[in-house]
């Protein structure tokens, strides 16, 4: 019986490890040798136990247990295949207001236009548009999509509002990025400083010939940069040059607080903007059918055990010692 419980426990662990790929997607762990080894061990145990159950070595209830093992194997092998040969996680970064095609899934992702308020609240939405189906909003719950699972993540973002010294609104461009005319910085680059990789981006205000390099600092890095002054919250170090690369100023911008630097009146609103993570997932058909077979096998096994228990005498050993064997046999017949 101990081997039965052990095999069922291993099957449940194998199933749970597989289902975790859907419930908690985009984890590096699923592509690690440790995860693969765990699933491999579970598969070997299930194969071995399932075979011995099928040929009757595990006593009565062998066939139901073999069936349950087949179901658990189907699920676990689906998880094993997904972890091994499924593609690595892909991050889809979209400029606010754009539609980004995702050819592998034959869908296009619409990234909602951002405002300072939606960035600060991290409320911007992403909607998937399909040719043959309705739109799907990627929210906080992972969305299974064929052999992939789509989940929402987010990255640091900054909304830039720029004016000249007279207060005229200025066009903001991002000459180094694919999103040339977006006022939203997504900090696609990093800058190594003092052993840390800090999010980095660049924008320009061609109307007044200024180029601004923006280095994002979280509250700890900002405090360090600011010689230990703890003001709380994150900020952006802005280094301003003209288009002849002549330095025009350096300043630390706090979210939503206007500042004048290098002849520019800047207001930087910090927040987060969503991205999509596409992770490999186990085949839903294998998982669902495997779970049904596993549950069916366990129910069959439970029914067989119940029947067997019901067929046993009420007080086994002491009664056997006092009475001869024939009456025991009759009591079995009576109870059935």
């Amino acid at each position: 019986m101990n081997s039965v419980l052990f095999a069922i426990a291993v099957a449940i662990v194998g199933i749970a490890l597989t289902l975790a790929q859907d419930a908690f997607p985009a984890q590096e762990f699923y592509h690690s040798w440790q995860y693969i080894t765990l699933l491999t061990v579970a598969i070997i145990v299930m194969l071995t136990f399932g075979h011995s159950a099928r040929i009757g070595k595990e006593g009565s209830g062998g066939k139901p247990l073999a069936l349950a093992m087949i179901g658990a194997l189907a699920v676990t092998i689906a998880g094993f295949v997904s972890a091994l040969i499924g593609p690595d996680t892909v991050t889809v970064i979209g400029t606010p207001g754009t539609v980004t095609p995702i050819p592998d899934l034959r869908v296009a992702a619409f990234f909602e236009q951002a405002t300072p308020a939606t960035l600060a609240d991290a409320h911007a939405t992403i909607t998937l548009r399909r040719r043959d189906g309705g739109p799907i909003e990627i929210g906080n719950t992972p969305v299974p999509f064929g052999l992939s699972v789509l989940s929402r993540s987010s990255r640091i973002a900054a909304y830039v509002e720029a004016r000249d010294a007279r207060g005229n609104h200025l066009t903001v461009t991002q000459p180094n990025n694919t999103s040339f005319l977006s006022p939203v910085l997504l900090f696609r680059s990093t800058q190594p400083i003092a052993g840390k990789l800090l999010p980095f981006d660049t924008f320009a205000t061609p109307g007044v010939h200024r180029i601004v390099r923006a280095l994002y600092l979280d509250s700890a890095a900002l405090s360090e940069f600011n010689h230990g002054i703890k003001e709380g919250g994150s900020g952006v170090v802005l280094s301003i040059t003209d288009d002849q690369a002549k330095p025009r100023g350096i300043a630390i911008a706090r979210s939503g607080v206007p500042l004048l630097a290098g002849d520019l009146l800047l207001k930087i609103t910090l927040g987060r903007y969503p991205t999509i993570l596409i992770s490999s997932a186990p085949s839903p058909y294998a998982v669902i059918s495997g779970l049904i077979v596993f549950a069916g096998g366990l129910l069959w096994f439970a029914a067989a055990m119940r029947k067997r228990l019901a067929a046993m005498p009420a007080s086994p050993l002491p009664v056997r010692e006092e009475r001869p064997s024939a009456p025991v046999a009759s009591s079995v017949r009576d109870s059935s």
Binding site: E28, H31, S32, W33, I36, T40, I43, I44, L47, T48, H51, I55, F80, L84, I85, P87, D88, T89, V90, T91, V92, I93, G94, T95, P96, G97, T98, V99, T100, P101, I102, Q113, T115, N168, H169, L170, T171, V172, T178, S179, F180, L181, S182, P183, V184, R188, P206, G207
Partner: protein, 177 residues
């Protein structure tokens, strides 16, 4: 039978080892691609204002063929292109063509002064949040988008165009019902 189970397990481990990729760096899809890839897409519209403060948007011109020009006062090619757009508008407005110029990121006063200086008579809208340029994948200014009567993008064009190029681009759209 036990032998076959063990053999299967060994094959599983070996094939797993062979396929194992060790994770690897994450791949990113960082999409834009420029305005040229927008053909056939529904034309996105945002509510903005004209230089005189009245509300306006691309969607208000549904039913007309629209030449939407994204520009800014600091952009030299935009200035060079404006006379061609004005001629295109005057020559074709009776045939159902609308030209709208949408200033990107600047204020109404700057855009109005520019329009007066260049004798622009077509509607000038002011998009100080640069929403149109973001959505229409501008990779520079000017960007021109031709929208058909049903509200779909026919063509997105990066860079300044001549009058002849504009006429060649809009002629088939104007002919289509």
């Amino acid at each position: 039978m036990r032998l076959s189970v063990v053999a299967g397990a060994i094959i599983l481990i070996l094939s797993g080892s062979a396929c194992y990729s060790g994770g690897g760096p994450a791949r990113n899809i960082d999409g834009n691609g420029g305005p040229g890839g927008l053909a056939g897409a529904p034309a996105v519209s945002y509510d903005v204002k004209r230089t005189d403060g009245t509300p306006d948007s691309l969607a208000r011109y549904r039913g007309s063929v629209v030449v939407m020009n994204l520009w800014a006062t600091w952009c030299p090619p935009c200035k060079e292109e404006m006379p061609a757009l004005e001629k295109l508008y005057r020559a074709n407005k009776k045939r159902g063509l609308v030209v709208i110029g949408i200033d990107q990121g600047e204020g109404a006063a700057q855009a109005a002064a520019f329009a007066r200086e260049h004798g622009i008579t077509f509607p000038i809208l002011v998009d100080d949040q640069q929403q149109y340029a973001s959505s229409y994948r501008s990779v520079g200014l000017p960007t021109t988008v031709i929208v058909d009567r049903s509200g779909h993008v026919v063509r997105g064009i990066d860079g300044a165009q001549t009058l002849a190029q504009f006429e060649a681009a809009v002629a088939p759209v104007l002919r289509a019902q």
